[in-house]
Amino acid sequence: MSRPFGLGARGVLVAVPAVFIAVFFFYPIATILWRGLGGGGGDTFLDLAASSRQRDIVWFTVWQAALSMVLTLAVGIAAASVVARLPARRQRLVRALVTVPFVLPTVVVAGAFTEVFTVTGLDDGGFRLRHTVWAILIAHVFFNYAVVVRAVGSYWAGLDHRMEEAARVLGAGAWQTFREVTLPRLRPAISSAAAIVFLFSFTSFGVVLILGGPRRATIETEIYRQAVTRVDLETAAALAAVQLVAVLALVVVSTRLERRRPIVGRGARSSRRPSAPLWRWGNLVVGLVLLGGPIGVLVERSFSTGSGYGLDHYVALGERARQLPAPATTALWNSVVFAVAATAIAVLVGLLASLVVVHGRRGIARIFDLGLTLPLGTSAVTIGFGMLIALDEPPLDLRTSWWIIPIAHALVGVPFVVRTMVPVLRSIDPVLHEAAAVLGASPARARREIDLPIGMRGLVVGAGFAFAVSLGEFGATSFLPRRPENLTAPIALFRLLSTPGDVLRGQAMALSVVLMVLVASAVLVIESGRGSDEGVF
């Protein structure tokens, strides 16, 4: 097989993502683990293994994440089947709308869910949903729905649907066609989305604490408790190591699945048949109840004032509330700027890394795939504290620099870009390259003119994720000391909710609604790029 890139280009491809992840992730993580475990790590691990509480925590973390993943996939793939058959413009709209939960702080969503549970009678008398594992699972589906709908839906839209039509003509039913023709071809996108959902649920913090109640703990909440509340760095570091190993194992398995050569065949331009009306409406109802319920509560509260309904809370965002070092509008602006920077970093690093993963030497591709996904499954405390003690000397004394925030956000954005791009790049039919070669195109030119336009679909979806993740990021940001003028919207929102008073609460709700509108419009703009159109040929 010919090498698709020249030596110099290959160097840059490998070096940029490698340096990024090494300096901003592995070095900090290694430093904090070494600090915690350097003394006598072995004993700490033995203590951990001997503690039934810790064993329970590890077990609970794994199974709730696995169950969250299964539920999200079930609901999300059903929705993706509908989305994939919509006209391109409407697909983009749906993809933008489902992203909204990404930017909502858990403290706000938990409150909205509690309200939904109360209104629907799921939280009174003998049956209480709050503080059960079901509340955690529902919230995880709420937050991760977008991952499946967006990643699988956009991939699905690019599949050649003539195969399904052929199956139907040959007498297969709708379900059989899906199971035997569509599902195998979707596998790369599904396993990619599944890994992200698992990791997000694996490291979810606020959902577990607030909706799960004080009796539930996961590795993530336990690392926080040990590192911040108890300042037992050794135990925290041992748990962080356990988390890292578990995530590594999962990612190895999931990339195995994903690497199986997909059945190619993509990019038919002709319009496809829409899904059956009942199926379409059914999915719409599920989506509306799941996302619309809590979001509706937030919107209603944001307009509700002491004297009926009005825009008071929105107007108040322009003035500095006493709990904030700057007006909420400044925080919103900061968040947008951070998100743009984080997205730019994530796209650059993620794009190069995806090319390495797909076209690079097997070993390097493997390491890239694993290494770049790890931040998604690593505790915000570990990342934040690690950066704090590792990046403390020139030329990398970044601890209080403006850049540290978008870099931390991009660490989480990169895996999204890689995991949406790689399946798309892998599915490109080799026949196209052969044809290009026959027609006299150099390998580099073939990549440029074939891979990039097709890969663009994955890239814009990944960029949308990176933007949304950054806009809503709370954990890592709160563990990095920052100047007050760098206040982000999620942190402002949290501050508004920490003092009693209806006015502040209303402003917090208005701020979350603005964040939702912002992310939906931004994702829409990002994905309106030429590349995301359905027919790329």
């Binding site: 840059v12 509340t229 007050p484 003092t499």
Partner: protein
Amino acid sequence: MKKPLLFVFVLLAGACGGDDEPGTVTLMTHDSFVVSDSVLDAFSAETGITVELLQAGDAGTMVSEAILTKDAPLADVMFGIDNTFLQRGLDAELFEAYESGNLGGVFPELRIDDQNRVTPIDFGDVCVNYWIDALPEGAAVPATLEDLTDPVYADQVVVQSPESSSPGLAFLLATINGTDDWEQYWADLVANGVSVTAGWEDAYYGEFTAGGGDRSIVVSYASSPPAEVIFADPPVDTAPTGVLLDSCFRQIEFAGILAGTDNRDEAEALIDFMLTPTFQEDVPLNMFVFPALESAALPTEFVEYAEIADDPQFIDPADIEANRDAWVERWVEIVLG
């Protein structure tokens, strides 16, 4: 190929040049710290010193961060370490001693570090709050900690877990100090249907009357009633909530000069300034705590709607540090068991 290189260059350029110019002092605080711009401007005008602020998460996170970065401190002065975390900071030798000339005006009972490694700046009490109109019919206003175990308040109380919440820990400490047998007390609270949440927001806005919940008694702050008035919508004349003074645990917030500072003079000037009326009178309405300086005037909302416990619950920081883990673990067994 150029763009990635340019990016790395920008990154490195941004990393350099972080040195403090002379006349600058960096103040590390928790996220709740807010001060009016005019107040810091007054300090700068007076002394020529610029204050750079660094916000570092909640108080616990901030202390952990300071301990982690002790060899290369992020700041010159820390503000916001309270008596529940104080001993941890002192054990880690985070601070350099400094006796401010303005310390004489501070309430004597707040001066709990006789070596002056830290200086008291403000205090705020964590107290049980109740929504006056939502208390069960026929129930009087609770007056003592023991009252909360009375069946008349069954299923009315919501508290935070001391494992994950600062007011939750403070309330546990209040019960350890304020009841004869705190373990029995909590067993009684459990029997009376106490609800536990992970954090303050979830308790106050999730289960307490304020957020539409069905519980009328919550662990919050002594300053919550004035906040309910100041941020009411529509405006109100009286506070809808009251405070159970017997339950109040005093949290004192301190400032200290971080060991190894290159700006000792500026740091001292900043600590002195934090004990002037200019700074102290700015504190209540920004951070909803009470000034440490006896002579500082309180805003009218605080005079009218806030009550201060004469004899708050208090435990020596060294005792807290020595027993915290054991107490919290015992609490978990009794309450969450």
